[in-house]
Symmetry: C2
Subunit: 455 residues, 2 copies
């Protein structure tokens, strides 16, 4: 076990590392949690990060590698040959972390690593290769091969012996998985239940039979939802025949949930790659440029739309005053609706119920809010500007835009989801830009009609 | 144990419930997980939800209540007196769920519930009252009193006896918490370690000494981060003297992480209350109105800003063409920067490092992206519109706006965080609206200068 990284400890370690004082830095770092050492390595510049990594014993180095972000990990591993990476790190890692690590390398290195694994002739290491087959969004990608399995004919005492035998290899044993003679999952026995039961009892008398499980090809999202919904700390994974092939632990699912939430948040904010504040300037810049360029395109099209009404603007330049208002309100209303849909889809509260009912509800909400906003604006227009045609134009356009934008905000994510595209793509700048355009078109159409009619 | 809710089972149960066929619905529902029954209850209209709730035995009813959303729970509980609620439900719940439930009631009912708890004279129930003292954002609010504690002088075998004794009362025992004679937390022994150790060994020989713990007043966010970072399934909570008072389990933290992420996402999308798609129309409407009204205010101020330049617009109506572009780009750039800061703050990757360095980095990113966008637009302007002054105005304004908006996007959340206000408030419509205004002001100032100079 280890000690937590306080701010004081952090400053102290950093100071020793900067002085390259090996004898003072090493004992401190040895007592830290792998996650905290990883934090230090990511915080520090490259050469100081390497200095720290070289201070670690082999076991800690492996754990720290598992905790690092992909980018930092690849910097450290660039110093080793594929053979060394397999012997020193992959062989010592949990299978799920090892598979993640291998998958991060470009194809040629990946091939070399797999070759080195086969040369190693260790069955444990070769298990890792079977995990490489799964896509990032499948439950198999979250799964580790390490678990305690036992035949249903065993006694409680034999079961405990098996836990003892596996104790070194399997971290965090919460339950023993019970299989039949064909290795099919038939139940589980939580440690709590094993410890409480009389040793001579038969396992089949105390096991829990209805076990929640997934297949390796179940979407990762669904596996995470099951663990969340049923409050599980581990979820067994079976193949198509029900044979037990691995388990997913809650720590990996927590990371997965956090990453997915971060990604949705970033998409809603117009950031197209998973970035953090300590990434390099060009990474941050690249992640943000696509949506800015999309916004630029939207803006250019807007300028063409407004250009169509140049004559109207010359006659009534006041029409220009409310361009930002109408555009922004369409964007806001659209983002709101799409956000609720995206979230409902992510939390699976949307699975049942009819599409028309959902659209009808959105229409109601949009009508209520649109009417309220329109009335407020109409009143303002009449009082502050004393121009009936302008007030009417803005009021009618606003209601229309809020309703259209809301319906679009609901429909696009649903449509994307139907075609198995991440609905979060439809939020943020995408919906804002689309609605800006619709808003402008509506505004000027209404404006021309109203002004023509009243004057 | 129970069976999972498939789509077929869902349809079948719904059909029986609609027919009020008690004899067919009950056996199906009895086999379902509490979380799935809760899902059904939230999906169905009120009277059908009540029909289901009345089919449940007392134990299941308690578990279902713990899984329900606040709104549905209060509808069901409105049928019971405070005394009944305490005897039937609160007395049977885990202490953390019970405390959440009590806190959901309005003050007068809460008083009645607490009185009823004191009248019950059961020590177990009275433990709940001590949990009511914590704020929603404190670790204490996630904590339950149920855990297995044992004195450090015990043997492994005595420890296992204690687990056996507590087996019924404490769900999900993963570890035994070890305390000294003053009840202070001094270590823990995972079940895995207990089951593997020889029974006659002393607990002090096998315990893990450096335990990560929090106090009840630690921010809930920090407790969640610790469990995430150190891969914990349970986190002990101590008071200021180090006395063990409860533990937080990972299932509650997973829910907490999901809720916080949802809330940040909603704030970024301009939704001011925690809503889901199956909430009532007026709830959805109310959650969305505040930001729409803010957008409206922003739009009205925009109209005043543009109004200041009415004369310029009359002379150069083409200036109006790029109003949406400049406003939208300021909004987009600002939202991007603020999102990265908010996320870094939430994930604690932002704790160390200097403010000026962060702003400098943001400035670099903004300059790169701003310059690229400006050049693209300048080229477009020269080719498509053949108007040098207009192209120059838009180009210069765009660069300025992207830089200003980005710096503002970083500064506001940092400022809010410094004053302990949720930085997520600064994202979405707030930053968009502010940047719309700044963008317009910059655009027309630049425009007037450029046109005056060139013509």
């Amino acid at each position: 076990m280890a000690i937590e990284l306080t701010d004081e400890l952090f400053e102290e370690v950093i100071a020793y590392v900067r002085e390259e004082d090996r004898s003072k830095a090493q004992p401190l770092i040895q007592e830290m949690y792998p996650a905290d050492i990883a934090y230090l390595i990511e915080y520090l510049p490259r050469d100081q990060a390497l200095f720290i990594f070289n201070l670690l014993n082999r076991e800690t180095a492996v754990e720290v590698l598992s905790e690092l972000q992909e980018e930092s990990r690849s910097i450290l591993l660039a110093l080793f040959t594929p053979q060394q990476i397999v012997n020193r790190f992959i062989g010592e890692m949990d299978t799920d972390d090892a598979a993640d690590l291998i998958n991060e390398f470009p194809e040629p290195v990946r091939r070399q690593l797999i070759d080195a694994i086969y040369r190693s002739r260790s069955e444990d290491i070769q298990e890792v290769v079977s995990l490489l087959a799964y896509e990032e969004d499948q439950a198999g990608a979250l799964m580790a091969k390490e678990l305690v399995r036992i035949n249903i004919d065993a006694t409680v005492s034999e079961c405990i012996d098996e836990v003892r035998a596996q104790n070194e290899d399997v971290e965090s044993i919460y339950a023993v998985y019970v299989v039949d003679d064909q290795d099919r999952l038939v139940g589980l026995a939580p440690l709590q239940r094993l410890i409480v039961a009389r040793p001579q009892r038969l396992l089949r008398e105390i096991l829990e039979e209805d076990v929640v499980s997934v297949t390796a090809k179940t979407p990762a999202e669904e596996a995470a939802q099951k663990m969340e919904r049923y409050n599980l700390v581990a979820l067994p994974v079976v193949d198509d025949q029900g044979v037990l092939i691995g388990r997913i632990t809650i720590d990996d699912v927590v990371d997965y949930i956090r990453e997915e939430a971060d990604q949705d948040y970033q998409l809603a904010s117009g950031i197209s790659e998973d970035v953090a504040y300590n990434d390099a300037v060009w990474v941050l810049s690249r992640a943000r440029l696509p949506w800015l360029l999309l916004g630029l395109l939207g803006g250019v099209i807007s300028s063409r739309v407004i250009g169509l009404y140049e004559a109207d603007l010359e006659t009534y330049p006041q029409l220009a005053f409310f361009i930002p208002l109408v555009a922004a309100m369409g964007g806001n209303a659209g983002v709101q609706s799409s956000a609720i849909v995206v979230q409902s889809l992510a939390n699976d509260t949307f699975r049942h119920g009819r599409l028309l009912q959902k659209l009808g509800k959105e229409l109601m909400v949009a009508l209520i809010n649109g009417l309220l906003c329109s009335l407020v604006l109409l009143a303002y227009g009449l009082v502050a500007m004393a121009s009936l045609p302008l007030s009417l134009t803005v009021g009618i356009a606003l209601l229309t835009v809020i309703v259209l934008a809301s319906l679009l905000g609901v429909s696009i994510p649903l449509l994307l989801n139907y075609f198995n595209i991440d609905p979060a793509l439809a939020t943020g700048p995408f919906i804002t830009t689309t609605n800006d355009l619709i808003g402008l078109a509506v505004y000027f159409l209404v404006g021309r009609a109203v002004f023509d009619w009243m004057q």
